[in-house]
């Protein structure tokens, strides 16, 4: 009798707790294996799970459990979230809640945006995911709106417009909730815009603060832009930041300066290609570190700033790390921004290294010539040593797993005229790419999934692919690393050796961010399939004609 009453009492309490994700739950997200409450699987963006049920021995027995169709044929780059048995996931045109066990749709709320919107979306008609907090699901839209939906019903609670999209502003970013503030970034550095990070009140949507990433004259850093070039300076913010609740600091990566033609804007161009340490309540900049001053090469540092506690010279250190677009893997002290390590992790020819005293690149004549308007062969290309696809970090093994790119490009700056709503680049976009060849002159892999030592940039192992992987990576304590190919295979690798343990062919190319969680004693892994991102838009790779579009969500578990 007592046991039944207890169960009834718990059941009565659960509905109230069911939808109200709290600050404390978000802080503990990285170790909450029953849920996936955060973008990046935790505020640290490590994309690492402590789960061990799926391991090196049984990964070969992974089988699909269910598949859910997005009814969308664009690139599926979203990271799903999981809370109490419900998956929350986004596409460019909808937000969905799906029963995690059965794959049945609970609700779907469509997103409409004006037909002109794709004019100003440079790199894929996408959305990268939602955020959960206090019973609500938050997401951004391509026409620069931030929306809060009721997590139970999908009904809109509030909607705020950040800015008129027509001049080149767009949002694809998954919001970050830190200290009760909804924090969003924005895209548009290719369109001569001046960009920012916003903070919104989670309950009401009230706009709390806006921090511009490109300062005006008279503001700190404003003297790094000549004339009024800051007005079109770029500085995009479209990858979700990380958060250290103890230091009360948000780390946000900042994107490229505009136009690409660097001669137009002589100076360091702060805070483009920087990491900013911010106060989440006020948006105030605590410190910054710049990866690529006066960058001509679109080396966006808008990327996941991964937080980890590692030993540096024998001493436990709180770090922030970044596999930067510019080809160097950086490790900084996240308490003060001090540079601890910076090493090439791919082929780099625009700099010999990073000066550890000044923190600045030791530039070669490749970048000097490029700035002067000469045509150069550039490595890595403007897509970078790694593009948007996020890394995973295994804190036990001390390895960062990254989908790296192995490609260069002929680069030439050309004159650029600013026109509102148009691309403002000043770079010749008709020259194509430099594809890698092996010593026999045959095509070499255009990408490698690498297991990188953060303090040296060296790869312990690498798994090549004909076409680069543009999918996120997931690492687990079971010793398994997951990622997906543009040809559609979702793969599992041995974290220590890189040996491929398992593969499953999905219906389209994979550009999604895999997650894992445990429900009723079973560990599940999920990833979206659906091609349409940067490589398919810009590479000109004719093999893509045999990869159909078509978005869906796949869930796998080990067959009993």
């Amino acid at each position: 009798m007592k046991r039944i009453l207890m169960a009834a009492a718990i059941a009565a309490v659960l509905p109230f707790a069911a939808q109200a994700q709290t600050d404390q739950q978000l802080v503990k997200g990285a170790s909450d294996t029953k849920d996936v409450l955060n973008y990046g699987m935790g505020y640290n963006l490590e994309r690492y799970s402590p789960l061990t049920q799926i391991n090196k021995e049984n990964a070969k027995k992974l089988v699909p459990v269910w598949n859910y169709s997005y009814d969308d044929n664009r690139s599926e780059e979203s990271q799903p979230l999981v809370y109490q048995g419900v998956i929350y996931v986004t596409t460019n045109s909808a937000t969905m809640a799906i029963d995690a066990k059965t794959g049945r749709q609970i609700w779907k709320t469509k997103v409409e945006y004006p037909p002109e919107t794709p004019r100003i979306v440079c790199c894929g008609i996408i959305n990268r995911g939602a955020a959960l907090y206090d019973g609500k699901v938050f997401r951004t839209t391509l026409d620069a709106n931030v929306i809060a939906l009721d997590a139970k019903t999908g009904k809109e609670v509030w909607k705020q417009n950040a800015i008129n999209f027509k001049d080149g502003y767009s949002m694809t970013v998954a919001p970050l909730i830190a200290d009760g503030v909804v924090i969003t970034g924005i895209s548009g550095a290719e369109y001569g815009t001046r960009l920012f990070i916003d903070g919104w009140d989670a309950a009401t949507g009230k706009h709390l603060w806006r921090t511009y990433t490109v300062p005006q004259k008279g503001e700190p850093g404003g003297d790094t832009w000549p004339g009024d070039t800051a007005q079109h300076g770029g500085g995009s913010t479209w990858i979700t930041g990380s958060f250290d609740p103890e230091l009360h600091t948000v780390y946000w990566g900042i994107g490229n300066p505009g136009p690409f033609n660097a001669a137009v804007r002589k100076g360091d161009n702060l805070y483009t290609d920087c990491v900013l340490a911010l106060d989440p309540k006020t948006g105030k900049i605590k410190w910054y570190y710049q990866f690529s001053p006066n960058d001509p090469f679109d080396y966006d540092s808008v990327a996941e700033m991964v937080l980890a506690d590692i030993k540096v010279k024998g001493k436990p250190t709180k770090v922030v790390m970044d596999a930067n677009r510019n080809g160097f893997f950086y490790v900084l002290d996240r308490t003060n921004g001090k540079l601890l390590a910076a090493n090439a992790y791919v082929n780099v020819n625009w700099a010999k290294g990073i000066d550890m005293k000044t923190g600045r690149p030791i530039e070669t004549d490749v970048i000097a010539k490029a700035r002067a308007g000469e045509k150069v062969d550039l490595w890595p290309s403007i897509l970078g040593g790694k593009n948007w696809e996020p890394i995973a970090f295994d804190p036990k093994r001390g390895l960062a797993f990254a989908n790296t790119l192995n490609m260069g490009m002929p680069y030439k700056a050309i004159p650029a005229d600013y026109k509102a709503g148009e691309m403002y680049l000043g770079m010749d976009l008709t020259q194509g790419w430099i594809w890698p060849k092996d010593k026999n002159g045959k095509d070499a892999p255009r990408g490698y999934l690498k297991a990188i030592d953060p303090l040296t940039g060296k790869a312990k192992w690498q798994a090549g692919s004909d076409m680069p992987r543009f999918s996120g990576v997931l690492a687990t304590a079971g010793g398994v690393v997951f990622s997906g190919r543009l040809t559609g295979e979702f793969e599992a690798f041995d974290s220590d050796t890189g040996k491929r343990l398992w593969s499953f062919k999905t219906g389209s190319g994979i550009e999604g961010q895999p997650i894992t969680w445990e429900q009723n004693g079973v560990q599940y892994v999920a990833v979206s399939s659906g091609i349409g991102g940067v490589y398919s838009l810009f590479s000109g790779d004719e093999r893509l004609k045999d990869i159909p579009a078509g978005g869906s969500l796949w869930v796998f578990a080990v067959q009993k």
Partner: protein
């Protein structure tokens, strides 16, 4: 008298004049090399982020303009001016008909120049 009037009425409804009313297609001289070059640069800035660098768009994701029929000029102008299928955005408020003609001149090269 009635026949002549009918003749006039029929010619007023001929396909080419209907097309001119909907997309205001300018007259059709052969493209000049300068037009093709202008079109190539205009394509790079306005179109390549969806239709591919140098018009190479091999997959399912966006229409491969290398396949666009070269005898369907009006369809091209209509799609670019007004958008299509809720995927192709309209450009009529941003690009003039002459600018669209430049891009059409480039499309006619099949991306080979």
């Amino acid at each position: 008298m009635a026949l002549a009037l009918t003749g006039v009425a029929l010619s007023a409804l001929s396909p080419s004049s209907v097309a001119q009313q909907s997309a205001k297609v300018p007259p059709d001289p052969p493209p000049t090399p300068k037009q093709v070059e202008r079109g190539k640069q205009s394509f790079a800035i306005h179109c390549s982020h969806c239709h591919g660098m140098n018009m190479v768009s091999a997959g399912d994701v966006t229409y491969d303009l290398r396949q666009f029929p070269h005898d369907q000029r009006e369809r091209f102008f209509e799609s670019v001016t007004n958008g299509r299928n809720n995927r192709m955005p309209p450009w009529g408020d941003v690009l003039s008909q002459d600018e669209i003609a430049d891009i059409w001149a480039y499309v006619l090269t099949g991306g080979k120049r």
